[in-house]
Amino acid sequence: MRVRSALSFVTAALALAALSSAAPGADTVDPAHEAKAFQDFFTKKFPKVKFEDFVNGPYSMNEDMRKQWEEKEQFPPYEFALEAGKEMFATPFKNGKTYADCFANGGIGVRQNYPYFDEKEGKVVTLELALNKCREVNGEAAFSYVKEEMASLTAYMAYTSRGKPFDIKIPNDPRALEAFEKGKEYFYTRRGQLNFSCASCHVQNPGERIRAEILAPALGILNAMPIYRSEWSGMGTISRRFTTCNSQIRGVPLEPQSEEYRDLEYYLSYVSNGLPISGPGARP
């Protein structure tokens, strides 16, 4: 009898152990699994939209807007910024070096690898941050993260990377996983007096109108950055987009390129892995 109960105990313990190793706990972070679930959510919600088309934001959701956009693309409003960015990129700093010296492959066709987690610095490095870091190490003053110069530079770098799929990596480093998790938390957290999260608009209501705008899906939302917005009458960086989103919901924006925004960019870019870079873009 004693042997029998001992056997039952061992069997139960083994079964429990097997269960706990097979099913990851609720707190286990599995970015690849999460990215797949994220992408599946949108492809199921919009079965008629081709996967690659999600990078076109509202134009993938509304036929009329798409036609207008296609016509606009013949003389795209971001063209001036693109030209300016190309010139700035090639112009040497006072010390004779250029942006190309700071980036792999001379900075051409590398947009899809940003942001990345820098294990030495222990933080997420976005393209905007890397550009300013490049300026500073070469003795130049940093650009504003929300103004035209930065948008022009990132527009040019995005343009040279068009068609290349987002390839964001999360190294086997608990700090990188934490940054991914924090980015996700920021994305889903309601804030501002209007009590909106990023997900309220871009997960729960893509394709719907908010006033005169058609909301873009979160999937692929950063692939077209930076963007020319007619509403702004100018170009906007990712930093500008994040800060204005916050103020639109009556939240005080954080400092551009603060840890929260960089983590958010890391999360949003990672879950769009596989989608092509389409920036610079144009939005109403």
Binding site: E34, A37, K184, Y188, G192, Q193, S197, R250, G251, V252
Partner: protein
């Protein structure tokens, strides 16, 4: 005077005082009232800042309070400061409750 009558008199006196008090205009707010109300609002807003969740409307109410005080309108200044404090406390509540609630929206 009987006890009953004394009690009735007391009740009448109390009612009369209440009527007079209600009819009198409320005391105008002073600079000290504004300073106290503003300090409370500012402290709550700093707490919201530590939670990285300030609202633009709180900031606007704080600015309005300061402007009203500078113009010597302490009634309005106190009112705006109290509004700012209420908004700051609401943003703190939001940030605190969202620490777990954000997970309800997560795509899994």
């Amino acid at each position: 005077m009987s006890d009953r009558r004394r009690l009735a008199m007391k009740k009448i006196m109390f009612a009369a005082i209440m009527v007079v008090a209600a009819a009198m205009p409320a005391r105008a707010a002073s600079e000290a009232d504004f300073k106290a109300a503003f300090a409370a609002a500012d402290s709550a807003e700093k707490d919201a800042g530590r939670l990285r969740n300030q609202w633009t409307t709180t900031e606007a109410a704080l600015t309005a309070a300061k402007k009203a005080a500078e113009a010597g309108n302490f009634d309005q200044a106190v009112k705006s400061a109290q509004e700012a404090e209420a908004l700051a406390k609401a943003s703190i509540f939001q940030a605190t409750s969202e620490k777990e609630r954000w997970k309800d929206l997560e795509i899994r």
